[in-house]
């Protein structure tokens, strides 16, 4: 096993790997506390750990880390819709000229635009596109495809929301505004996908609303609507407490938990988002 080949390979998917290896305290201590031979043997583990941080670290510390995380999600979404539009199993539903195909094409075009925008913003710091995304059985049927789409869009909304304060604290107002502008577009996508699922051919889910009621997953993974970490910051979607106020009873009027939970979308941390993505997609 050639260590430098490994690092070279990793650099292709994570250009900041050398920074991470040479600057991160964890990597330094892992290497520094061992003898030279031991260090060499342990290096792949340290590298693997540093690489995981590129997409699964608990704290995204810089604006670039946040943007590369967003870029990975956009790569995923773009590829998801591109594969759907080309899938023979969906051809009967996504027929040329249909409203359904038009909507999916519109959404796909937005994801492509987001990829290009984020790549341009990151410049040479942009992580490359993963070699492939395997969505498993997502395209087996039209209802299955839309269930996955709902999961990705609702997760995307939560993911961007979860990073807003990170960009704010990095003092990047222009990037923050752009992220917010993407965030609300993802919410429009989510609403439309949910609307599409009401159709008879789409599964006839007539109870689905364009917004998230409670933490009802409508067939998507429960984790999409569950709590993140820390749960106090990123509660599950059935949360009825905002800024310590219990909104069902604390506003001078009585509101149902369904209405209160739907009135607020909750954010999600990047580790939980990445775990959700990897639970249904291989990349």
């Amino acid at each position: 096993m050639n260590l430098f080949n490994i690092i070279s390979e990793l650099e292709k998917v994570d250009p900041e790997i050398m920074d991470r290896l040479s600057h991160r305290r964890s990597a330094l201590s892992a290497l520094g506390s061992l003898g030279k031979k031991m260090a060499l043997a342990a290096a792949p583990i340290a590298i693997g750990s540093a690489f995981n941080k590129a997409v699964g670290q608990n704290t995204l510390n810089t604006a670039n880390e946040v943007l590369n995380y967003a870029l990975l999600l956009e790569y995923l979404e773009e590829d998801f819709y591109a594969q759907a539009l080309a899938a023979p199993t969906l051809a009967a539903n996504l027929t040329s000229g249909s409203a359904a195909r038009g909507a999916i094409q519109t959404i796909k075009n937005h994801e492509t635009a987001h990829v290009n925008l984020l790549k341009a913003a990151l410049g040479t710091n942009a992580n490359p596109r993963p070699a492939s995304f395997d969505f498993g059985n997502a395209f087996l049927t039209y209802p299955t495809f839309l269930t996955f789409a709902q999961a990705f869009e609702d997760t995307g909304v939560r993911a961007y929301k979860g990073q807003a304060t990170k960009i704010q604290s990095a003092n990047q107002p222009a990037i923050l505004q752009t992220a917010l502008q993407i965030h609300s577009v993802e919410a429009r996508h989510a609403a439309h996908i949910r609307y599409m699922r009401r159709g008879a051919a789409a599964g006839g889910q007539s109870n689905i609303m364009p917004w998230v009621v409670g933490k009802e997953a409508n067939g998507a993974p429960d984790a999409v609507y569950g709590a993140g970490n820390p749960a106090a910051t990123f509660p599950a979607e059935d949360n009825i407490t905002q800024a310590t106020l219990t909104l069902t009873t604390g506003l001078g009027a009585t509101y149902t938990a369904a209405d209160v939970s739907a009135a607020f979308d909750e954010g999600l941390d990047n580790t939980t988002v990445t775990t959700i993505a990897r639970s249904v997609v291989t990349f």
Binding site: H110, V157, Y160, Q177, Q181, P210, W211, Y255, D265
Partner: protein, 236 residues
């Protein structure tokens, strides 16, 4: 909000009850927001007693509180609009549209009441009087057209105001609300024209939703509010 203030336990200000005494530091934070109102009161004390000092003008105030008042004003407008839609539904409103529009009305009322409870009373703008005289509530197209205007405007307002906020808590709260407004916007647009959920009139070639400055949003919203809204110092 700075860490310094957080250490002082002042992050609870968001939920300060209306009757709670204003802490001294909070007072200084809000002094800017209330300065405009004070000036109005003082102007009533000078020699020209018969002068009506800008009656009906509401200043949103400054800083983060100004942004919250800005959101509160827009949520008041939306809540009043949907309450009217539900009270006088357009002819033959289908059951599923009634269900969804009733839910939206509740969401907006919750947003409104939340801001009312969260903004300290000393800095909070009053209840506004809507003017929906230009909207024909018996026409589906007119109602959904107005709803589209309000929702798209709300999304653009939140998107434009996010970077004005200093407090991370307020930013996250705004983010929790704006995506729901975007869901409303998409739904109403699809009712009017299926597939227009993210039309090119609101989402540009870069895939970005609108983000509008305070003055632009208020200029568009003003015709629906009887009071004159002054947002000159929002976020400043």
């Amino acid at each position: 909000m700075s860490n310094f203030l957080k250490k002082e336990g002042e992050e609870a200000e968001l939920t300060t009850p209306l009757h709670a005494p204003i802490k001294r530091r909070s007072f200084f934070m809000y002094a800017g927001a209330t300065a405009g109102a004070t000036a109005l009161l003082l102007s009533g004390c000078d020699d020209d007693d018969d002068e009506t000092p800008a009656a009906g003008t509401v200043s949103l105030g400054s800083g983060d509180i100004g942004v919250l008042n800005y959101a509160y004003a827009l949520e008041q407008l939306e809540a009043a609009f949907y309450a009217q839609v539900i009270a006088t539904p357009y002819a033959s409103m289908p059951a599923d549209e009634m269900t969804a529009l009733t839910a939206i009305a509740k969401h907006e009322a919750i947003h409104r009441d939340f801001f009312k409870a969260a903004i300290p009373a000393a800095s909070r703008i009053p209840a506004l009087n809507p003017d929906f005289s230009s909207i024909n509530f018996s026409s589906r197209d007119a109602v959904l057209g107005a709803a589209k205007t309000f929702e798209d405007l709300g999304v653009a307002a939140y998107n434009g105001a996010g970077s004005l906020l200093k407090s991370p808590d307020y930013l996250l709260l705004a983010g929790k609300i704006v995506s729901v407004e975007a869901r409303h916007a998409a739904y109403v647009r699809d009712l009017l024209d299926n597939g227009s959920f993210a039309g090119s009139d609101v989402v540009n070639a870069n895939g970005l939703d609108q983000a509008l400055p305070v003055a632009t949003v208020l200029a568009a919203a003003q015709k629906y509010i009887k009071e004159t809204i002054n947002g000159d110092n929002v976020g400043k």
